[in-house]
Symmetry: C2
Subunit: 212 residues, 2 copies
DNA sequence: TTAATTCTGTAACGAACGATACAGATAGGT
DNA sequence: ACCTATCTGTATCGTTCGTTACAGAATTAA
């Protein structure tokens, strides 16, 4: 064991509590006073452990990814592209509306800093979101090779479409939408799962648009 | 004319410049120094005209709605529900990616304060977004009465679905998505315009889900 | 001209911000 | 027991925040 006085708090617990504050108030709206109070520590302890407010934030983001990894793994392990989409969207809808735990509604990767005085924060968050899009894209590319996605499907477009809807769902959740409403949005999206639609629109785009 | 020294700046121009700052940096990330510099005035002028930072922000929101009213009117005037959806989503995609003017990419109603230390700001923004959802909902209810939307369609769900996707598109735009990518997302959504899908899924939900 | 009114620029206010200096407390290594 | 290393709490740092006091400039009304 390393010499010196041992740390008097659990790092992960502290990060979870800080996460709630960033989630609810955003990066800039979360003051050091708010954070230290929620984490149950004083600022010198915070700075010794995480270096700075931005350092704490990055640690929170890592912790978040770690906590969400199980979900993404389950989604990516689904047997086919449509199931991946379904698990993803329904899971996001469920997660975004779930306030049973410590988490506010919505998604940390959106709420904590869509815009900031310092562009570094939104950029970092966009990178984390893009990571999930990349995972979906690669999963769909595999699905295409394995044949459960048609040869003219566009994995990149499908992944972008899904994360776009997922982000929209999170925004709705942050604005107070109910779990039922979010589930319905996911269901509507999946009902129009665009693989067939894209094929169709390429064959006869005008006709498709005039059908009601 | 009212006595006293006349105002030395154009209110609307000042609001437009302030809008850009709020849009890019968010409500809390936009300091008074940033705002007065962009607006080309000193703080006493700002406070005389708008009362406070929050007052300025609310004036900016009104100005934003005013500038976007033409778009929503055009959307709502479309002849049928599908056209409304198409004009709305394609318009949002175009608008969110358009940086030819002063506007940053994305949407002010999201970027300026999805989360804040003071919950009043996110609430106010959510109210403005909900207003557009309401307009779409009422338009779809009319479409249902007029018969160009099937009798089992849900206007509220359709409106919620559309604004959810629109918000997602704005998030993607803020993260740097290209106009082409956003247009494609809009196209994919419209290709799966869920009125048919909802009808279908109610008749045979299991079957629909197994088709790839 | 004078009085009344409103806006402008300078300069500064108290409060809150993120970040730290420092001394005391608590551990391991020898 | 002693030195070194790390963490904790108090108390405070300089900066920036939103906001305003004040005096001078610019206008109308009489």
């Amino acid at each position: 064991m390393r010499p010196g006085r041992p740390r008097g708090f659990c790092t992960d617990t502290a990060l979870d509590r800080a996460m709630t504050v960033f989630w609810r108030q955003g990066y800039e709206g979360a003051s050091l006073a708010d954070l230290t109070k929620a984490m149950g520590i004083n600022s010198p302890s915070l700075y010794a452990a995480f270096g700075s407010k931005e350092g704490l934030f990055r640690a929170v983001l890592e912790r978040y990814d770690q906590r969400r990894k199980g979900f993404m793994d389950k989604v990516l392990a689904a047997p086919d592209a449509k199931s991946v989409a379904q698990l993803f969207l329904e899971g996001v809808a469920e997660f975004a509306a779930d306030t049973s735990g410590r988490n506010p509604p919505g998604c940390l990767l959106l709420q904590s800093g869509l815009s900031c005085g310092d562009q570094v924060i939104p950029d970092e968050l966009a990178r984390h979101r893009a990571e999930k899009e990349r995972a979906l894209r690669e999963r769909f590319a595999r699905a295409k090779k394995e044949g459960d996605l048609s040869s003219n499907a566009d994995p990149a477009a499908l992944a972008r479409y899904l994360v776009t809807m997922a982000n929209g769902i999170c925004v709705q959740a942050a604005a107070g939408a109910s779990a039922g409403e979010l589930r319905e949005i996911a269901r509507m999206t999946l009902a129009g799962w665009p693989v067939d639609g894209v094929k169709e629109i390429r064959k006869s785009p005008r006709k498709r648009q005039l059908v009601h």
